[in-house]
Symmetry: C2
Subunit: 209 residues, 2 copies
């Protein structure tokens, strides 16, 4: 099997050409760069079908990022995958509270997950926050509760946890909350998917798209 | 849709029960914990079919970890996802050289990728290294070349890059090299998959499995 002769700088461009040519159907142009970057990250064309976007969410997130909004993730891995340098250009930062001692203590005291406890901590930030949840359905459920209680008003929720227990349900729930969302319906998702969605929007913005 | 009432501590156990019950066919017991953890990380049962293991690779990696071998990744995200605390129990560390300035400079000077340059840097470590490659096919190609030149002798190569350009070819190539391997054949893989494979082996070892 022969290697394709592609310069390092051209690998990404060539990859996106291949993805474009293999899309199973047309994707709405407003969300296409997000869907394609998720497929680029997973090589899984299921994402051409399972992603749901609330009305105007792309523009809402882009405007918020432009105005310096922060991103809160539920894993260090998602935090690690987001291009923090390019986000910083707009003034935003990426936070993950999962390893914080106070979060571990609160989770233990309340018999909940660290992910849920870290959402409570994020609610106390008092800043414009985009949530990027790639792992814990309990984070989405806690965000739903905090919104119901009027304790938090997220800019938007990127709800793409992966898994087998309460993942499907938590995503359906978050789509009924009063917040803009991007969701991968079903079991699939992940920290890599959450990071890819954030990066697609940051890159679009940074390149003026 | 009703939430399943599962205690935080039981979510992982319950998830693995579901995965076990939905496996499309029997998986060899020697590699089953790895395959199941990859499915746990991706919710993608394609991994029940696309993974390839060289003879004895599981035991080779476990023995090396037990003796303090290090892991080198090709992304900060994979590094972030590996359970470094539990690896440290055995004496090993996880390195990723992708953000190092000397690696960026070497890549630029040689017209190659930072991933390839970071493999060259790893070759200079002079330690027992398990490579966990979840992103860059160029890292696998460089490892192949370094082995051909006798400049490196990896403990094993976890070769699971994801993508569309030279990914399939690089994985096929690395399976012909003189090193134990775990590979996800085809386009699929990722930093999350690389980390999941490492963690499955570390957890098995740590629990005495």
């Amino acid at each position: 099997m022969k290697l394709e002769n592609v310069l390092p700088a051209d690998i990404e461009r060539r990859s996106f050409e291949i993805i474009e040519s293999e899309l199973p159907h047309e994707i709405d142009s407003s969300v296409k760069s997000v869907v394609k970057r998720v497929i680029h990250t997973t090589a899984d064309f299921d994402y051409a079908d399972n992603m749901r976007f609330s009305d105007g969410v792309i523009q809402i997130i882009k405007n918020a990022v432009k105005n310096g909004a922060d991103i809160v993730t539920d894993t260090q891995m998602a935090r690690s995958g987001i291009n923090k340098k390019r986000l910083k250009k707009f003034g935003g930062e990426v936070f993950c509270f999962m390893s914080d001692e106070d979060v571990a203590a609160a989770a233990k005291a309340n018999g909940t997950t660290r992910a849920a406890a870290s959402m409570e901590k994020a609610a106390g930030l008092g800043r414009d926050v985009i949530f990027a949840i790639g792992n814990a359905p309990t984070a989405l459920i806690k965000l739903y509760e905090l919104m119901e209680q009027g304790k938090i008003k997220p800019v938007a929720i990127i709800g793409v946890p992966v898994g087998f227990v309460n993942v499907v349900q938590a995503k359906e729930l978050i789509m009924t909350a009063d917040a803009p969302y991007i969701v991968s319906r079903g079991r699939k998702g992940g920290s890599n998917v959450a990071a890819a969605i954030c990066n697609a929007l940051i890159y679009d913005l940074d390149s003026g798209a």
